[in-house]
Amino acid sequence: MQIRFYATLRPLVGGRSVDLSDPPDTVSGILERLACEYEGLHDQLFDEDGTVRRFVAIMVDGRDIRHIDGLQSRVSPDSELDIFPPVAGGI
């Protein structure tokens, strides 16, 4: 499974995307695996109490997990994941 990262998260994973073999079937499981492999990523994505930081956007097939089942959102091997730090702009 390919997971794409953006903006300030890219340096933490060393590139635009990460390939995960044998991926877990929830967002939570995937993030746990990624946090073990990439130092600093956990702190960028989670608050001290373990909730996803405000304004961090995690998309499964283009849908923000805040509109699916949060960290328990299901993921299949051919799903596409995009992970954004707080991004805004727009003029």
Partner: protein, 620 residues
Amino acid sequence: MALGGFANRVARINLTDRSVSYEGINEDDARKYIGARGLGVKYLLDNGPETDPTSPDNMLALVNGPMTGTEVTMSGRLAFVTKSPLTGTVTDSHMGGWSAARLRWAGFDALLITGKADSPVYLEVEDGAVEIKDASDIWGKGIHDTVAHFGSDSGNKTDVSVMSIGQAGENGVLFASFLNEDDRAAGRGGTGAVAGMKNLKCVVVRGTRDGRWRPEQGEARQKFREAQGAHLKLIMESPVTAPSSVNDDGTLKDGSGALSAFGTNVLMNAVNSIGGLGTKNSQLTQTTPEAADAVSGETMRNEYLTAEPTCHACPVACKKEVEITEGPHAGLKMESFEYEPAWSLGANCGNDDPAVIAKVIDQCNDYGMDAIEIGNVISMYMEASERGYVDTPLDWGDGAGMVRVTEEMAMGSSSIGQTLGQGTAKAAAAWGHSEISMTVKGQAVPAYDPRGIKGEGLGYATSNRGACHLRGYTPASELLGIPVKTDPLDWDGKGPLLKIFQDLHAFSDSLDLCKFSAFAVGAPEYAALYENVVGLPMSEEDVMVAGERIYNLERHFNNLAGFDGSDDSLPERFLTEPASGPAEGHICELDQMKEQYYEARGWDDGVVGEAKLRELEIIS
């Protein structure tokens, strides 16, 4: 005058008889309409909403807010307010940079320009006086040359700022814009076209920081510092706006806000990922991840960045200067590779070459044209070509053709250039195919597809200046979660939500603070700043009421100019052709959202009734 912040000096300039007179600010209007956008619309209303926007009687008002040029963070903005020749509505377009502050330091709250000079002129503003001067030796020049002519620069190294039109405004392009220094545009609505019709080339302002407003010593200054300190702290600590800095190896330091690090174009990948990025004239709502990333803020920072300029009193520095090093545009250095034109000239034109985007934006900044409209008019032309509606076709992604046709529009040097220079809506209508015009009230849509981000669809439809994302920026909620996260694919509730955004932005545009402040602060901070600059009580609720009053004032102007609910529409494509990508199958449910919106506004089919006008003290 009892109100703080204001210079209490306004110049009325009649170019027909070349007269200048001076007056103070009307205190009652300043209390009700705050400044900049709100006060500017009031000047336009008093000038007559039925005025033909192409006639000498139309007014071009350059209006500061009470905070402009002060120490308040992000206070370097100026509103250009006029009746738009593109839309027929009232319009206001704001520029950042340094000109706004300098105009205030030169002693003015506003310049109100009417009439038409019998030969090209410019205005010179210094020390509380305005002179009308001969512009025959700069007429015909681009903006970059005009700025250089007066010895200005694109920063704060001199004491002179130049706000100018380019050849597009001189040649009657209806979406011509004003720019200050080299790259900061009041882009939308054709303010530059109005200046061109008046034979007005530019406004040259001389002023130094010594002219800025400061509170009295003692308690007043202490309280001002507290309010400004709280405002600044939130901006410095927001994960969006926190200033960025780099380590020795060039990598970004922890805590760098994404807007500061990557500029507005950090949105490119995010909007594309949810299927909200209009592609090929909005026939699709998503491009490939590779095409989006090729022109994104991340790529521009990593591969093209040369400098990170800012505006007056802003630590965020979201402006990104880039240099193209290869290909036909090698050597081009430019600023304002922003999200909007990166979309309009990128995915929307089937183009993923950042050098072409940089080149056409720079053309817009030199000829003086709205870079959102230009991307739309070109993409509409490309779709017309694909469908066989035109004799001289332009293919999707033809970068050389995009550069060529941009020049032809600005210079009016070809038949196709003259047609396209009238804007997307008029050009499509001239070919008998208005259905491929992605416009509202004659102005082209910005970079959020209303099928993938539905609140913006309502925002485009009900904007008082034609399609616009800045009137009510619901993507803050639909993408980011400010103030709360709402689902971009759900229409329900977007009416009341949009009203809150529209009213809040109407207030901040009238202060006039950069809109990006709203990613970090809100009504409580705006109220505290207002109280401690202007010196009048202002609560959080008062902020929202004043914003509502300003929004209704604009709508009232438009109603008197002949607009009603039937003009609050969207192109048929967004209502009937389903989206692609993650928003697949979705259309924009405009009618349902409009019903909720009008109810929240208390309007009858898009018209502000007398009772509402009285309630908001617009009429007595």
